[in-house]
């Protein structure tokens, strides 16, 4: 029987939510939470002998220590395979799954499989090192994710050949392998071209990594006449957060009038961001959104003027797709209003 150790966080370990995210690694014999679904998916071919549960905050804030403890726990059960997650779009959980799987693979020489949503930061960090099964962005995708992870894991532990990412449902690892084809290159290229001309799909044989390259805008020639706007993902909002921008996974952005404000005072502004210690931002919101400095530059004539409104959202856990949409909307409004340049501040 194939022996498996399964890693999950405090939430799926049924210990608690964010309030329990600082728990230290603990180990339980047998299955816990999603392990039940894996048990079904393995159909008796493999057994989860132990489940390791660790708080997401604890792991990420004490990475070296947590990894060392968990590696010792894994070693104790002498497994053939290690499974972590699935973490869906939970960022810290994803990073923890990736980091511990890589450690298990590298240091204990035990194959590992994770599951994550493609936009999980852990996926980008570890996809080159690990097989990460592509999942939905929330736990409702458990039923879909588990059989895929289980089947890939079994193949891996049995030493079977792992096929292409799209066939085996894992996130592209950027690995290229040479193979022989019956058809010579020139003919394949012409076939592709003919398919393309006929409006049929063309699949490249040589996938390139996608880089999110943004061409720099042409420089502003005369800053003394330029209107400059401030936009932040650091969550600065009027006190009381009138638009109720969420402290995590923001579903919106806000637009706020700073006409006549020479600086942002702690009595009128604060941060809505839930992903960093807000003490210093609340004490002096200019630290995140530098209205004070921009007013100085305006007075000194370095810039033409500071735009009358600022835009703010919370970057914490906000999906890339949403962030892009907010960016496009904000940019369109700024252009309409004749703004020449934007200073974008984070946290």
């Amino acid at each position: 029987m194939i022996r498996i150790v399964h890693y999950i966080n405090q939430f799926f370990g049924q210990i608690g939510g964010e309030d329990k995210a600082d728990i230290k690694p603990q180990v339980k014999e047998g299955v816990v939470g999603p392990g039940m679904a894996f048990k079904q998916a393995f159909k008796g071919e493999a057994e989860i002998v132990a489940t390791i549960i660790c708080g997401d905050s604890y792991f990420n804030e004490n990475m070296a220590e947590a990894q060392e403890t968990i590696l010792e726990m894994v070693k104790g059960y002498n497994p053939d395979l290690f499974i972590a997650g699935p973490a869906f779009n939970a960022g810290r959980y994803g990073v923890a799954c990736g980091a511990i799987s890589k450690a298990v693979q590298d240091k204990l020489n035990i194959p590992a499989v994770c599951g994550m949503y493609v936009e999980n930061p852990g996926a980008d960090m570890f996809k080159k090192d690990l097989y990460i099964v592509s999942t939905k962005d929330n736990a409702a995708g458990m039923r879909d994710a588990v059989p895929k992870m289980a089947s890939l894991a079994l193949k891996l532990v049995k030493g079977e050949e792992i096929g292409l990412p799209k066939d085996e449902n894992y996130i592209e690892r950027g690995i290229r392998r040479n193979c022989f084809s019956d058809v010579r290159g020139s003919k394949r290229a012409v076939n592709m071209l003919v398919n393309k001309i006929n409006g049929k799909g063309v699949e490249t044989e040589y996938a390139m990594p996608t880089f999110d390259k943004v061409d720099p805008n042409p420089p502003i020639l005369d800053m003394t006449k330029a209107t400059i706007a401030l936009v932040t993902s650091g969550g600065i909002v009027p006190k009381g957060n009138p638009d109720r921008i969420e402290s995590s996974s923001a579903s919106k952005f806000g637009k706020y009038d700073i006409d006549g404000e020479m600086e942002l005072t702690s009595s009128k502004y604060e941060t809505a961001h839930g992903g960093y210690d807000p003490v210093y931002a609340n004490k002096d919101p200019n630290r995140v959104l530098p209205v004070d400095i921009l007013r100085d530059l305006e007075r000194e004539g370095v810039i033409g003027k500071l735009y009358r409104y600022f835009y703010a959202t919370v970057g914490n856990g906000t999906s890339v797709a949403n962030a892009k949409a907010y960016g496009a909307k904000i940019a369109a409004e700024l252009r309409n209003d004749g703004v020449d340049a934007v200073i974008l501040t984070s946290t």
Binding site: F11, Q14, G17, P34, M36
Partner: protein, 108 residues
């Protein structure tokens, strides 16, 4: 369905017996209502809560389903649910919850 509610459903079912419990949902869209319905019948599909791996098979309905609506005083229903009934995708919710119920409910 959050963990506390799952625990309450589990406790109440233990106290009164699964055959005596009906769960009425109020979720605002079909997928969420379907997940809640699945949680109290086949078990928590996210495997995160107390109902993970526990198939209670309870009777479960959404408040907009005719089975529930027809039990209520029409005037009170209109006052309490009429507005939401207008804005929700009632057909999608009914179809989702009914599909789950037909598949997993143990008390038909």
């Amino acid at each position: 369905m959050d963990l506390e509610i799952q625990q309450r459903v589990l406790d109440l079912t233990g106290k009164y017996g699964a055959e005596n419990v009906v769960v009425i949902l109020g979720g605002a869209e079909a997928e969420a209502a379907g997940l809640s319905a699945e949680t109290v019948t086949a078990g928590d599909p996210t495997y995160a809560g107390p109902l993970a791996g526990i198939d209670l098979g309870l009777r479960v309905y959404h408040a907009v389903e005719p089975e529930i609506k027809n039990e209520a005083d029409q005037a009170v229903y209109d006052e309490q649910c009429g507005m939401m009934e207008m804005v929700l995708d009632v057909d999608a919710i009914i179809s989702e919850v009914k599909t789950i119920r037909d598949q997993y409910c143990k008390f038909k």
